[in-house]
Amino acid sequence: MIHYPAIVVIAPLVGALIAGILSFVEERYAYPAALIATGISCAAAVRDLIYVAGHGPIAYHMGGWAPPMGIEYRIDTLNAMVLVLITAIAFLNLAASWPNIKQEMPDRSPSFYAMYLLFVVGLTGVASTGDLFNLYVLIEITSLSSYTMIALGDRDRGPISALNYVFVGVIGASFYLLGVGYIYIKTGTLNMAEFATMIPTLQDSTTILTAFILCIVGVFIKMALFPLHVWLPNAYSYAPVGFARIVAPLMTKVMVYVMVRLMITVFGLDYIFIKLHIADTLVWLGTIAILAGGVMALAQTNLKKMLAYIIVCEIGYMVGGAWLGNDLGLTGAVLHILNDGLMTFALFLAVGNMVYKLDRVQIKDLKGLFAKMPWTMTGFVLAAFSIVGVPPTCGFFSKWYLILGAFKAGAWHFAAALIISSLICAVLFFKVFEVCFFESPDTHDGHGSDTHGRHTTVAIQEAPAISLAVLGIAGISLIVVGMYSKTIVVRLIWPLLSS
């Protein structure tokens, strides 16, 4: 009962070790080991969430060493929610991607599972830790495993995209590290909670200001905020499907979580909004990110790249929303971490199914997909509606809070950007739907008025059942999470903001 926060992080770590060993000894057991590890992690995270929602934050000391000597893992409602998101997606993705992994890298799958588990370790650690330096280490663990896994993807472009990602990622993480160094110089502590008690006296210090800027810029690079997003489209498009499905929903969102954590817990809302006057600039940056991401997505002919630019757009939502300066904006941003993770997961599940069957996902290759892959397309449509923001899917509700927050803060440009991006996303997705619906597969475009009896029934060639089942779960969760938005907001997010 006491060690659950550690189990969430350690179960995948042990699993990675076992999978690594098994890859030499008995390959077949690597996959079940990975599944079990993520399953245990997910169960522990859920239990933590239930506990924290009822009893308040958990402060777990690793190895029993009390801070500031030891590393503290601090789970409050924000983390717990993010942890459940991470572990649930990790578990479901393993289940859904098994056919894809077998198709794309049949000879290297055990090592893939080991790296995958290390990635999960990194993510869960980032979300759990209460120590600034430990955060750096775990961010790097996450990044390292993602570099290798991206390289396992597209044979032509995977390694290069990964290499570019390495360079940018190292810069980002190193900035963050430098920032932590400045904090350490000034305060002598690396523990988030302890630093939070010290900051009221340090508000005028330039060192702390520098630290803040460095940390935030580092995190911005890692979360692909425009214009620091250049690494993202290539990295996510050329990654293998099994990995793209977990990195796209989670990596950047977890970095947004880090930003929120820095804002709320470490530096404190007083310092950020009252002392510093950068909030307006950052809201503008968010606005530009939204519009730039949307416009660039419109120009894409490859479905995966299009989705990657939509991710850039969504990051703009969260950054702008968080920096609006009021409760509603932060609520919207945090809710959007959850919602966007789910939506992106569902989207990439659907796209992965398409890749499994079609191998290439240039938009013009998707002809007649509604007939050929109806279930995948249903999931895709649901996820698309969530991104556009159609109720009752979850995407609508985070948009609600974000727009409301923008109105309250008088940030009309941000509200306008949110509305415009909904329209742009509608255009984007209906462009894809049109190809899937109107053009018949493998023949000429429909030219002709009356095609009344000419429709031949197209055989359904769907993805494997397990992928569809997980897509179904993801799709339904979009609606369920949407319906329970108020519960989530009231029980998980508002307690965080009031403390």
Partner: protein, 493 residues
């Protein structure tokens, strides 16, 4: 006047939705599939009807489903106005189900299962919109309806459908996301609630310029109401199969649009606020422009369905005009016209479809002398047209009568002039059709004088709706009572 908690509203919404998996799985056996459609339609109609007595007594039935934010829940509430709309929608669903069997089978259309499934979804959303207790629930069902009708409009999956589908989405989704969503959030931001209240939700938070802008955002944002210039999707949507045009674009989709505008005018702004700010006149003006322009355009249309489409645009603005008059009789007339126009227009669309199934003709210039071949259809056409024009002894006369009384009540002679002129225009574009169908020489006639009607399943529904339009003249209940009750609620007694 009490609020009764009941799950009947949500059941009425869910039944067509719940039948969709059954429809999809019985796709291989068409008769079973159609039987399920009927079962769903009859069940939800029965549920709606069962709530009529309580509503007529002045009560409201409802249920809160799930909360979104303080003051904004997804909630259903059945009052007189919603009941009227739901009765129209659920009854006509059954009749249209019958009609679409005849039509789709007569033309051997493809993907009938998909058609039937999305139709059920659309009706579910319509009933949901009718029963919405507040603006956000209404917005939810409005959006679901827009998306559910897209596959229906683009059913033929050819190039024309693609272009029309794009136009459909641009105007309907673009306005709802671009105008209604910010307007709705603005309301919530200003007042903290979105419930439809008898005197509106604003208590002095709006200045006249902001109220005007907000109102216009709503009026043009609900593009389904076909106010010009956001009306272009309606003629474009006529590429859909006729049952779609009939039910959705004469009854469900367009009526959700005007219904939403009425709800906003009466439940969000409130009659008092609108008259004190003088905004009723602005909306009435916009509606009048639409009425006159669309009626004039209808005169020039040769394709039967497009003429009907422009006629619909005009008639919808009658409803908006009635509500904008802000006088009790005017509003009653507008609300009653929802029903009368629905039954009349659906008859006309059924006729157009029946002619297409029987003869393959879509253009009026090709339909000279068709009366002798299809007398039943054309007689029904006459009755439907008379209802739209507003001639006795059809139901349309009653609603137009109230509208005229409403303009006199409010001393708005200009509107009276608009109403009369447009009635003349309506006659001008409908009567020649009937005339040419029956009164022509043997040489001009394009058809043999042999009786050769459309399939039975097509003819029976249009006879039913024509008869109902006729009966409405004598017994416009319970719709008249519901309209008056609704208006009493808005004007506070």
């Amino acid at each position: 006047m009490e609020f009764i908690q009941s799950i009947k509203p949500i059941l009425a919404v869910l039944i067509p939705l719940a039948v969709i998996p059954v429809l999809v799985s019985s796709g291989g056996r068409p008769n079973v599939r159609e039987a399920w459609t009927f079962i769903a339609g009859i069940l939800s109609f029965a549920l709606v009807v069962s709530m009529v007595p309580a509503v007529l007594d002045g009560n409201r039935i409802g249920l809160t489903l799930f909360p979104i934010a303080p003051g904004a829940d997804i909630a259903l509430s059945v009052d007189a106005l919603g009941m009227l709309f739901a009765l129209v929608a659920s009854s006509l669903y059954i009749i249209t189900a019958m009609y679409s069997i005849g039509y789709m089978r007569g033309l051997n259309e493809h993907s009938q299962t998909r058609f039937v499934a999305f139709f059920a979804l659309a009706i579910s959303a319509t009933i949901g919109a009718a029963f919405s207790a507040n603006l956000i629930t209404l917005y939810l069902f409005y959006e679901i309806l827009s998306l559910a009708t897209y596959p229906l409009v683009t059913h033929h999956q050819d190039e024309k459908s693609k272009v029309s589908g794009r136009r459909y989405l641009t105007f309907i989704l673009g306005t709802s996301i671009g105008l209604v969503l910010p307007a709705m959030i603005w309301c919530y931001h200003a007042t903290g609630t979105l419930e439809f209240s008898a005197a509106g939700i604003f208590t002095g938070q709006l200045s006249t310029p902001s109220a005007t802008v907000l109102l216009l955002m709503f009026v043009f944002g609900f593009a389904k109401a076909g106010i010009m210039p956001v009306h272009t999707w309606l003629p474009a949507a006529m590429v859909a199969p006729t049952p779609v045009s009939a039910l959705l674009h004469a009854v469900a989709v367009v009526k959700v649009g005007v219904f939403s505008i009425i709800r906003v005018l009466t439940g969000i702004f409130g009659v008092e606020l609108l008259s004190s700010l003088g905004l009723g006149g602005l909306v009435a003006f916009i509606a009048s422009v639409t009425i006159l322009t669309s009626s004039a355009i209808a005169l020039s249309q040769d394709e039967f369905k497009r003429r009907l489409a422009y006629s619909t645009i005009g008639q919808l603005s009658y409803i908006v005009l009635g509500a904008a008059l802000l006088s009790p009789k005017g509003m009653t007339g507008g609300i009653l016209h929802i029903t009368m126009h629905a039954f009349g227009k659906i008859t006309l669309f059924f006729c157009a479809g029946a002619i297409y199934v029987a003869t393959g003709k879509k253009y009026l210039s090709q339909m000279v002398g068709i009366g002798y071949r299809m007398p039943v259809t054309m007689t029904a056409f006459l009755i439907g047209a008379m209802s739209i024009i507003g001639l006795p002894p059809t139901g349309g006369f009653i609603s137009k009568w109230y509208l005229v009384l409403g303009t006199l009540e409010g001393d708005q002679a200009v509107m009276l002039f608009v109403l009369l002129t447009s009635s003349l225009l309506n006659a001008a574009y409908f009567m020649p059709i009937f005339y040419k169908a029956f009164f022509c020489t043997q040489a001009e006639a394009m058809f043999e004088r042999k009786f050769d009607e459309a399939p039975v399943m097509c003819v029976v529904p249009l006879v039913i709706t024509a008869l109902i339009s006729f009966i409405f003249f004598f017994v416009p209940q319970p719709f008249l009572k519901l309209s008056t009750l609704a208006v009493t609620g808005f004007t506070g007694g």
